[in-house]
Amino acid sequence: MKQLTALCENFGSAICMLARSARHINTLPRQFPRFIEQCYLIGYTTLPIVTILSFFIGSVLALQSGYSMQNFGAKQFIGTLVGLSMCRELGPVMVAILVTGRAGSAITAELASMNVYQEIDALMTMNIPPERILVLPRLAAVLVMMPVLAIIANLCGWYGGAIVCQYTAFISVDTQSYFAALKRYMEFNDILDGLLKAEIFGFVIVTICCYIGLSVKGGPREIGASVTRAIVVSLIFILVLDYFVTKALL
């Protein structure tokens, strides 16, 4: 019961934090340098790992599906399988996980440090709401960067699958056929669904990471624990939300 009460309290506090951030949305143009900095940290620095990981996810997906499908002569549908899987599911989810690990942990660590070393208290003393300069730019940045990362992840995954199909002996599906199959059964709405998922995941990740960072209490040891907690909670929320969002979008 105590844990349930704590859970509800955390939910409520997070929503209140979001509400306070939204109240300062008119200050966003004045915080453009902070917004760009967060875009750089969340999007640009995450790009290499997203590119590499998505490429190999697409490759492995093509390899596994080619191995399975060769038994019943459905290799011409590998492009369809990889394309739809990447854009509807794997692309957004993998980007969300990587952003959690790469940017979410950094956000939590930074805010937790500021909290532990009373920088947050100092801001509040100066009548500067921490949500305005610490949460709002990050939320705006993640909403802008997540679709970009997701579409890059999709393309890298598709090309990874195409290369594997072309150069793997037991698959031997040429790139033209691969992309023809990919285009035949896919519509731009599938891409949009994936991008919407990525937006939702990014918003949830930054909300959780900011909230846990801002709600740290205690000494410096709590900084590491809060980072771990933020990542675990974010991953759980990503996977749980993935089911409900997917069901809603189908």
Binding site: P33, Y40, Y44, V148, I151, I152, K183
Partner: protein, 330 residues
């Protein structure tokens, strides 16, 4: 890293994302940028059977274009095809929707058409042919299965005995049991008959075993055959004669079918009857000659007289004899 560099990198990164999103959208929705080059051909069908945008258009298995889009027409559906610029399709070529695999993908197969026929131009319609739908085939197979099941049920009932009637096997058993002794008798009789034939007994036995009888029989058969041939020839002749008679040729034909000849014959018969009546009644010279023997007697007396005159002439010359005869006569 200063703030400007950071801003430039973020801006480029964001523009890269926008460009990739636009390329993906154009590629998937068949936009202008990625539109395939070629000319457009309309293929009307009553049912597209799952043909979708982007499906291949094949000619003898070689890709010659793709389905640009599908749309509803007036009481029909149309597939708008984009054919590669170098591909020439005669206007009598026929297009049909074919299944590419059992997993449900389709393509449009275009025939070669007649060499030398006028070519299809941009925007023209191509002749199409509806193919058999697998669903229809499966439905027909289902109906066939139901009928087979019904037939199998009927056979099962017939074999196992449905309702109050005895089964087929029971009927067969009864039949064999009842007719067994009679069948054995029949077989025994057949054995006797064949034994007699083998021993040359009876007509068939002699016929089988006696070569001379066989030859005579053959000769008899030959004669019968000749007689039949002659009868056939006779029948042909009779038929020809009948034809002639029917056509009024010859005497009998004239008698049978010529009205004038019939009238003449009728007149002749009437005349003959009248003559015979007169003869019978002794009218006229011949009638009296036939019915009255006076003339006969007078002629007999005259001959006697002539005989006597000849005897009395003796050795008188011929002139004298003539004179005597003439004197006696006149």
């Amino acid at each position: 890293m200063n703030s400007t560099q950071q801003t430039v990198r973020v801006g480029l990164f964001f523009l890269l994302g926008l460009a990739l999103a636009w390329i993906t959208f154009e590629s998937l929705s068949g936009g202008r940028f990625f539109k395939e080059k070629g000319y457009t051909v309309i293929a009307p069908f009553s049912n597209l059977k799952g043909l979708k945008n982007g499906d291949e258009v094949l000619m003898a298995g070689v890709k010659v274009g793709s389905v640009f889009r599908t749309r509803l027409g007036h009481q029909r559906v149309e597939a708008v095809l984009t054919i590669d610029p170098g591909v020439k399709i005669p206007n009598d070529a026929v297009a049909s929707v074919q299944q590419s695999s059992l997993l449900g993908s389709n393509h449009l197969e275009v025939g070669f058409g007649t060499p030398g026929a006028p070519l299809i131009k941009d925007g023209d319609e191509i002749k199409t042919q509806d193919t058999v739908d697998m669903n229809q085939v499966i439905a027909q197979l289902g109906a066939l299965g139901s009928k087979l099941e019904q037939v199998a049920g009927d056979i099962g009932k017939a074999l196992g005995g449905g309702g109050q009637s005895a089964s087929l096997f029971n009927k067969l058993d009864t039949l064999v049991t009842e007719t067994g002794p009679r069948f054995e008798d029949a077989v025994s009789n057949l054995q006797d008959i064949t034994a007699k034939i083998k021993n040359g007994e009876g007509t068939i036995g002699r016929l089988v075993n006696d070569a001379q009888l066989h030859d005579e029989l053959l000769a008899g058969v030959t004669e019968i055959r000749n007689a039949a041939a002659q009868a056939s020839s006779f029948a042909v002749d009779a038929k020809a004669i009948t034809e002639q008679i029917r056509s009024g040729q010859g005497t009998i034909g004239a008698l049978v079918f010529d009205q004038k000849a019939g009238d003449d014959i009728r007149v002749v018969a009437r005349n003959l009857r009248e003559i015979s009546d007169k003869l019978n009644s002794g009218q006229g010279t011949f009638g009296r000659l036939m019915t009255d023997d006076t003339l006969y007697r007078e002629a007999q007396g005259l001959v006697k007289k002539a005989d006597r005159a000849l005897d009395s002439m003796g050795d008188s010359g011929p002139i004298t004899a003539v004179g005597v005869v003439a004197n006696q006569l006149f």
